[in-house]
């Protein structure tokens, strides 16, 4: 039996979504996940998750509000004693719906916005949505929900960071997450158009630090820099199969939301196996547990207990080898692929403006399970 018990479950209820954000980390082959788990199946998954030690449930997608049985899912989770967090675009989150979710036991709401003004936010979302989102944020607050505002940052909105913070303050969010895009799925496909420049990051940083100091005790500001600009990789998921697991809309169980993109990893499904077996015994969850799988430079690195070798999915997507050191690390033999991407953006920022490819079920007819790296 694995000694670690998972703490959090990311339940991706559906990949259907009214937005078309080009920074989405969902897989490119969205249509392959169309055979969604039923309410009964989710109930079984949540019960097994609770028995396995899961305490925190993040209801996500896609857009979880697209599930007609969302209220029932929330109610079951609440009965099981799970802390429930709805991660939503809030596009159809009416005050009445929010109130029913509150009654069902929902603990926390996280609403994404794409920018600090309607024109840019709607352009990035690929659909008019900004005004509905702000109205939903106010409705959620009026019901007494704690609110996190989430803004995924990239080249097109990071210069608005002061206005974004002002907006979060204005809607009285308890928390605001300013998370730079992570380059998976659609975001990796659009990387050349999304990666911010060094100058943009240099300008954003002091604005965030000043707001953090000013709003201390009132609003928590989480700022995540793009790992492409970091010296060391992120401690992805707090380590593989260590604290978190993801269940995809079709019941695939993943150590991280992107792990389905790793070729050769045999992904198990809750329709065939128990969650406990998958967590404890499946080859996929054990593949990168601990430190024995690590190559150099991780194998002899004192940071292996800090960052766990970084992100397996990023290693696979950028080097073709999921067991390689995350190429973000400056010690990685593959670090040049990250340096090249950063250099291209900073040296050709004026001329290089590739078109954004918007997320959609039919956008990339030929997109497969694998790797969109160019």
């Amino acid at each position: 039996m694995a000694s670690n018990r998972p703490f959090g479950l990311l339940a991706e209820l559906t990949y259907r979504c009214p937005l078309h954000c080009p920074y989405c980390s969902n897989p490119l082959n969205l249509a392959s996940y169309g055979d969604e788990l039923t309410l009964d199946e989710w109930t079984r998954v949540l019960t097994e998750a609770r028995d396995l030690g899961v305490l925190q449930l993040h209801l996500s997608g896609g857009e979880p509000l697209q599930r007609r049985d969302l209220l029932s899912i929330v109610a079951r989770a609440h009965e099981l004693g799970l802390y429930t967090n709805l991660i939503t675009s809030a596009l159809s989150l009416t005050p009445a719906k929010a109130e029913r979710l509150k009654t069902a036991g929902l603990d926390h709401v996280q609403i994404s916005i794409q920018a600090a003004d309607a024109t840019l936010s709607d352009r990035i979302a690929g659909t008019p949505s900004y005004h509905q989102k702000i109205a939903a944020a106010r409705a959620v607050k009026a019901l007494g929900f704690p609110l996190t505002l989430n803004v995924v940052l990239h080249r097109h909105n990071i210069d608005q960071i002061a206005q974004i913070l002002a907006l979060a303050e204005e809607v009285e969010a308890e928390r605001v997450e300013l998370a730079n895009t992570q380059y998976y799925g659609w975001a990796l496909h659009n990387r050349a158009a999304l990666l911010p420049t060094w100058d943009q990051l240099q300008r954003a940083e002091p604005v965030v630090r000043a707001a953090q100091a000013r709003l201390k005790g009132r609003m928590q500001i989480i700022y995540v820099v793009p790992d492409y600009y970091s010296r060391y990789p992120k401690p992805c998921m707090g380590g593989w199969g260590r604290q978190q697991l993801t269940v995809a809309p079709n019941g695939d169980v993943l150590p991280c939301p992107v792990a389905g993109q790793i070729a050769g990893l045999s992904i198990e499904n809750v329709r065939q196996r128990s969650l406990t077996w998958i967590w404890d015994d499946s080859p996929a969850f054990n593949r990168f547990r601990g430190v024995d799988w690590m190559p150099e430079p991780c194998r002899s690195c004192p940071r292996q207990s800090v960052d766990f070798g970084g992100c397996r999915c990023q290693a696979f997507l950028l080097t073709g080898d999921a067991a390689a050191t995350d190429p973000v690390c400056y010690l990685s033999p593959h670090h040049a692929v990250v340096e090249d991407a950063v250099r291209a953006v900073n040296h050709d920022a004026g001329s290089l403006q590739p078109e954004l490819v918007y997320r959609g079920f039919k956008t990339l007819a030929t997109a497969g399970r694998g790797n969109p790296r160019s």
């Binding site: 018990r5 959090g8 396995l52 030690g53 305490l55 925190q56 802390y83 603990d107 926390h108 704690p146």
Partner: protein, 128 residues
């Protein structure tokens, strides 16, 4: 000293300023202010912030404090302290109740623990 923490803290606060402004004794003034803070803290009636949830986890056999992102696995004392944070009992009440339960002085443990959780934004301290 006065039997009323709030009045005692207010008086100590004045005394601290007097030591600082009239006697020119910064050190004594600061020490008195710190004493005032500690006394005021005894009178506070802590409770969990609305989005934090205290749960008993039968899998880990521990109390867990859950918040939007992540949670804290609590030891026995931590769980016992938070279970008494109902917005009605004062810090002094909680320390007295647990002191009686464990038959030892826990005042310092209670203060340190609640200060830490307040600074993480998980506990609200309300005055009398």
């Amino acid at each position: 000293m006065l039997g009323n923490c709030s009045e005692e803290a207010t008086l100590l606060n004045f005394l601290g300023w007097a030591q600082h402004a009239c006697a020119g004794d910064n050190e004594a003034g600061l020490a008195t202010h710190q004493e005032a803070l500690a006394v005021a803290f005894q009178a506070a009636r802590p409770r969990l912030v609305p989005y934090a949830r205290l749960r008993w986890d039968p899998v880990r056999e521990k109390h867990i404090l859950l918040a939007p992102e992540g949670g804290l696995v609590l030891n026995e004392t931590g769980g016992a302290i938070l279970a008494l944070c109902d917005g009605q009992r004062s810090v002094a009440d909680i320390a007295a109740e647990l002191g009686a339960r464990y038959n030892r002085t826990v005042d310092q443990d209670v203060m340190t623990f609640l200060n830490r959780l307040a600074s993480k934004g998980l506990v609200e301290l309300h005055g009398e």
